[in-house]
């Protein structure tokens, strides 16, 4: 059996992961949607636009042809930017078969109650699906910092194959879980909560209220996740709390898009991006919570501020009132 892994998407995360994993001897095929990027990686071993200054392991084979990558690898890691997911998955449907195992690393749902794994099952003939999430930032992987992620799938086979391909001792530890919906939801909602913490930091709230916000956020996200079928403890793991901690860490120079969006809005600065995975997750999360009949004030506040044009002071006021009333 082929132990090769196909990494779909040569963004910062995909490139760093491909390089790290190739370094330990795994056969890696990297798909770059943009032919120029593929050429740059092949010729220069760099991806300047996404990971400036980073040298890519010579073992990484790169292609701008999706079929080449899926033909060479049974195990696929989907790591494209979330707005590209629908289109890429649709294209994957034409070049994959039932033999493939697909693990996605996308942190936003497709629609209310429709996860990326649902999309993969609807658009391709792949049945063995999983999700990868956790506090492994692209730059940490690139710098060979010790990182950990969780791969969740109802199939032991997917977890085992992902571990065999991606686990790099002392650098990247891959944990396993059967809670697919739990990890998908945690991964998405942790991004939304990251924005909330970014907003609080931008406003300069004290560390006490900041801690309360994070605790309440975890409780709220857990409620939503459990109502959609997740296990209660999953959000407290790498994909939920782990993600939230790394992306909101004051010491980390590598701030996430979600965190930056929160800070910029709070400070009234020009926005680097109008929306992020986390902001989309917040909007979907609010709708999901509504559908499931679960309270979700923090997600509601994030969605209102980012997408609803509600002034942050008003949203913060509502949140504070909510604390007094309910919790």
């Amino acid at each position: 059996m082929s132990g090769a892994v196909g990494i779909i998407g040569a963004g910062a995360f995909g490139t760093a992961l491909a390089s790290l994993v190739a370094g330990k001897g795994t056969e890696v095929h990297l798909f770059a949607e943009d032919p120029a990027t593929a050429e740059e990686i092949a010729a220069q071993r760099t991806n300047e636009r996404r990971l400036p200054g980073f040298r890519i392991d010579p073992g990484v084979r790169v292609s701008a042809d999706l079929g080449v990558v899926t033909g060479a690898s049974r195990l696929l890691i989907l790591a494209v930017a979330s707005p590209r997911v629908a289109e890429v998955v649709r294209a994957l449907g034409d070049v994959t078969t039932g033999r493939h195992l697909l693990v996605h690393a996308i942190g936003a749902p497709i629609d209310v109650g429709k996860t990326v794994s649902d999309l993969v099952r609807a658009e391709t003939s792949i049945k063995r699906v999983g999700v990868l999430a956790g506090p492994a930032l692209a730059r940490d992987l690139a710098e060979r910092q010790p990182c950990a992620v969780v791969v969740a799938s109802p199939f032991d086979e997917v977890i085992a194959q992902a571990r065999a391909a991606l686990d790099v001792p002392a650098r990247l530890r891959v944990y396993g879980s059967h809670d697919l919906v739990g990890v998908e939801t945690a991964s998405a909602l942790s991004g939304a909560l990251t924005i909330a913490v970014g907003l609080a930091d931008g406003l300069g709230v004290g560390s006490g209220p900041r801690a309360v916000l994070m605790c309440r956020g975890v409780a709220e996200a857990t409620r939503v996740a459990v109502a959609s079928g997740a296990k209660e403890r999953t959000f407290g793991g790498l994909a939920g709390l782990g993600n939230l901690l790394v992306r909101t860490a004051v010491t980390s120079g590598d701030r996430s898009d979600d965190y930056r969006l929160g800070v910029e809005i709070a400070r009234g600065e020009p926005l680097s991006r109008k929306e992020t995975e986390g902001s989309r997750a917040a909007v979907q999360g609010v709708k999901l919570a509504e559908k499931l009949g679960v309270r979700a004030r923090i997600l509601g506040a994030v969605a209102a501020v980012v997408h609803g044009g509600v002034p942050i002071s008003e949203a913060a006021g509502r949140l504070a009132d909510g604390v007094a009333e309910e919790e």
């Binding site: 059996m1 449907g93 086979e157």
Partner: protein
Amino acid sequence: MYTAPSAAGTLNHPDPLPAHALSLTLAHGAGEFLYISAMAITPASLRADSHEQHPHDRQGRQGRQVKEAENRLAHFNAERETIVAEVERRVLESRAAEAAVRRDASLEYVLNDVAFQEIRRLERGPSSSGEKKRVGEWKDLARHLAKMTEEEKRQRLADIVGTYTRDICGNFNPRVFRFATRLLPALISGMLAPGSIAQGISSLGDLSGKLIIDGPLERIRACTDRGTLVVTPTHSSNMDSVVFGWSLHRGGLPPCTYGAGKNLFTNPFISFFMHNLGAYRVDRRLGNGLYKDVLKTYSQVLLERGYHSLFFPGGTRSRSGGVEKRLKLGLLSTALAAYQKNIADGKPQRRIYIVPATINYAITLEAETLVEDYLAEEGRHRYIIEDDEFSRLGRIVEFSRRIMTLEGALVIRYGAPLDVFGNRVDEDGESIDARGRRVDPVTYVTGDDGRVQDDPQRDAEYVRTLGEELVRQFRRLTVFMPTNLVARALFDRIAAGVGTRDVYRLLRAPGGEAPIEKVREDVARLRTLLAQRPELGAVAERWAEARPGDLIDDALRMFRGYHTRPVVDREGDRLIANDLRLLYYYQNRTAHIAPELLA
């Protein structure tokens, strides 16, 4: 022109009786049922219906004919001993292999478990005095296990497996058969007034208008060219297997073998038909792992050998009256196992197809017993009901007469076939993905070397998702009868009046009634919703466009006559629920439609 198989479905009989004749008879309601059964024993009378037209079938039948060769059941008797030997061999080999690697799978452990379960069952559960005597044997086994040699244990295990296999497979006994054939005519003349026989004959002609078969029959027939069918219907009544046998024949599909509860075989009369319709026996009282293993292996071997099979994946009749939402995956898993064996044997083209189906009655034979059992929350303890309406021939006769006089009161709806992974299949029987592209199903279980990779956890997950797909299909394929719609509307009104949907509280609350005007509105709303949401099911075609008032009148007619009291009556401009339990039962068919959707 379609030609029925001339010798079909003869599971345990050396001198095959045409199953189409039998299955036809069985569906005709018991009046006709008994009469034609008697005819069926006279070979000369059997050819009569094989060329008749069935103008009411939705799908044209002029398509493909079912080849003689496809009816594997006709060869069952010749293969029976081989099958028994194969099942025994596989079970014993796999047990021996497990015992060699796992301490807790040692033969001593396996035998002890069987003995323990049997002793507990015989001492606590209901069983005949003859069976009770066997407690001693099992106790003896448990006592001596520690002193037995490995060879003795192997022999004992082989004995038990052999007994189980033969019990499942059915032991055709010519004496029982002769007894049953002698008994039949006497039964008929004793039970039926001459008038009903005449009535029975006259109703034969327009039978097909009353019992409707719907679905992509042509596509299902095409699949029999490629492989083996596993028909998986919803389960409401013990009449189901009989009605299905008829509908398969009627739909131009080959007969199926199926597992019937052993309790149904206790009545020699019913047992006779069960055997001849291709049934094998499932003793649901035997909960031990070894028995289940034998049963599953038997089913798998039958599928590998191309015997079309029928499973009720709900495991038992729906107690609540609702469409199954949790399935028993044990027998279903044998479809995937058989397909993998086919691949491993170099026959990947020999496919296995899952055919979801629903059986929809306007009234259910055993409704009273079933819902009582459900409400008593005794489902678990009384998993096997031995004293229900099905055990009383008089009730079957009554029920059959009733349902035969109601136009369109029974609809069997087949769904499009699926592969064992839950993929749809196209007209050629090839698997296709959700977007219609062809998929090679072999790729789900083979490695890059093309060989089957053994992975029970993966298989369990495939079967679980197949089960989920079947649950979705069951809902989509549900056909709502006027009784279901009116019961739902009236139940909702009563529940709203009392302020709870909790049936136990409703049963204690007085005044189960509502203005007919409101029920009419609710029925119309329910119908509009169903028209927009086909995944929730569909209103029976006959009533899809009918005026709500007419639909209610028809429901009232159906509710009268069979049940002890009419479930619902009309008094002036009000509908009165006479029996809230039965109202609940009939409305439960719509239970998967959340009340919010109707708000």
